[in-house]
């Protein structure tokens, strides 16, 4: 990957996707879908390296977000990784895939990232609905599991705006728009109240 900023972009996604498959393997093997595993393998070979990420201002917020996501509990993993971060990843891929400033290779890789996530999200929704069928109960678990994550996400968003905003027109605001457009219906499908999910995300984003 010749473009250094694109290489950084994919280094971030590579780290997120690698952490996801490790978390699935360890705590929720049913989400370790073959398509996701194959996609992670592709990212390993895409030319992005950890060194690029580690040298950037994004290293710390990425590390903090991933540390917050790591856990040993099945329900937390389903909520944090299978629901929240999968939808976030899809939003990032979608927004990046729409940017003409990205190379055709990157746009194609982003589109494949969404496809690789499809089966994981579907399986996760099924598992969550079976594990916690009551929407209100699930909402409370969602609040507790995602609160710190949203706060860390906001910090990462600041850095994303700074690093990718001008060149790729990749803004946190756009990613959040796309993310919530996907996540909210998914939460509602699981029995959560849309208004409450929105209020929770808003409050958590503002550190409340």
């Amino acid at each position: 990957m010749e473009d250094s900023l694109e290489a950084l972009f994919w280094a971030i996604l590579r780290r997120f996707e690698s952490a996801a498959i490790r978390q699935y393997d360890r705590v929720a093997p049913e989400l370790a879908e073959a398509a996701k595993r194959a996609y992670v393998a592709r990212l390993q070979d895409c030319g992005a390296t950890d060194a690029v990420l580690d040298a950037s201002e994004l290293a710390a917020p990425v590390r903090d977000l991933l540390a917050t996501a790591a856990n040993n509990d099945l329900v937390t993993t389903l909520i944090v990784q299978g629901l929240f971060l999968e939808h976030l990843g899809r939003a990032i891929y979608r927004v990046a895939g729409e940017q003409d400033s990205m190379s055709p290779e990157s746009r194609a890789l982003a589109a494949d990232g969404i496809v690789a996530s499809d089966a994981v999200v579907a399986r996760c929704t099924e598992l969550l609905a079976r594990t916690i069928p009551n929407g209100e109960d699930l909402f409370h678990r969602f609040v507790d599991a995602s609160r710190d994550l949203v706060e860390r996400l906001d910090t990462l968003g600041e850095a994303v705006d700074h690093v990718f905003g001008e060149r790729f027109h990749l803004h946190f605001r756009d990613i959040m728009g796309d993310f919530t457009a996907d996540l909210l219906p998914a939460c509602v499908e699981l029995g959560m109240t849309r208004r409450k999910v929105v209020a929770h995300l808003t409050g958590a984003l503002m550190g409340i």
Partner: protein
Amino acid sequence: MRVASGEAVCITGASGYVGRLVAAALLAYEDVDLVIPVREKYSAADIATAVAKECETLGTPASPEMLRRLHVVALPPTSEMASLGPLLRQHRVRQIIHCAGSLSYFSASKLKEGNLDLTRALLDVAKANGVHRFLYMSTAFSAGFVAGQVREALHHDPPEDPTEYTRSKRQTEHMVADSGLDYVILRPSIVIGHSRSGLYSGRPYGLYQLWNAGERFMSDRYTPVLHAIAPRVPLQVVHQDAVQAAVLAAYREIPSGGVLHIVSREASLPTVREMWDLWFGAWARPQEMHYYDTLEEVPMQELDRQQRWLVEFAAANIEISTHPWHFAAHRLDALRRDGLAFTDASIETVANSQRVFMQNSPRIRRFLEAHADKIPAASATAPHSAGSE
């Protein structure tokens, strides 16, 4: 109702905004020792500095003599709250003004721990150690979504609560009332900065949450057309100096069992729409503004994903404010008649708080610099409004 000479008042939550305001007010205007329990992560020096700063905002700089009346002590874990007892006895604490609590909107575990469990533990240690009176800082919205006037009394469960937070505060009010201690319930609406200086030292709650979200998500580019939920209902805000004055009056004058709504007069308050006009007109300055009374009226399918998200998030931010609240204020009116100086919030005083917020926002400054060539100049008039009327 003041404590006697040589006795003290304990104020919880002084590491937070409202507790700090209350501590500053008592330090500035009452000759009483204050016992301030805070979690171990806060140092006594930091607390003293923060309280002193609020004294300055009040216009009464803290002298060394005043600060010597401030006794910062360690707040034990809730399960070990009984260990606070010897300190309460040592300082002869007779009243507790309980401002600590969880402000989480929906985290049931945090709300139980921070509101119900903590208050129960404090009530127990108070009863066992000679405390006579307990003033509880609740919220004007503890009634939940109810029709008609919100009474100055304990509330039954409403058909719906805006958040788990309001439910938790209502439950805690009942716990205080049932404790057997003399009590007063204090219910401020949305607290904003000082009415004149606009200074504000709290976290981004209430109106500040909305402003924070606005600067966070709208300052990356100029948006010529904006949509917002903006009914013409009063925005229930109250200035911090008014809260301080009212709490002092409650401490001095309100008898046990009293509930005090600390709210601005409705006639004075700006409407939600006026607040939006003030905000958008000051910096975002869209060419076109579409206002709606409810989220259901917004033609979501006509908006792009980002606009939809902004509208929905802003609506969630101010949902509590778009309900037509009508608070009974008989006690506050009586205090005013007795001389309480209470500055009602108005569009002019809210503008002071907004001005300070904008001055302290690098994002807004950068936005105004970057888009100076394409945005309409700021004017006294509102942006062009369209949408539901």
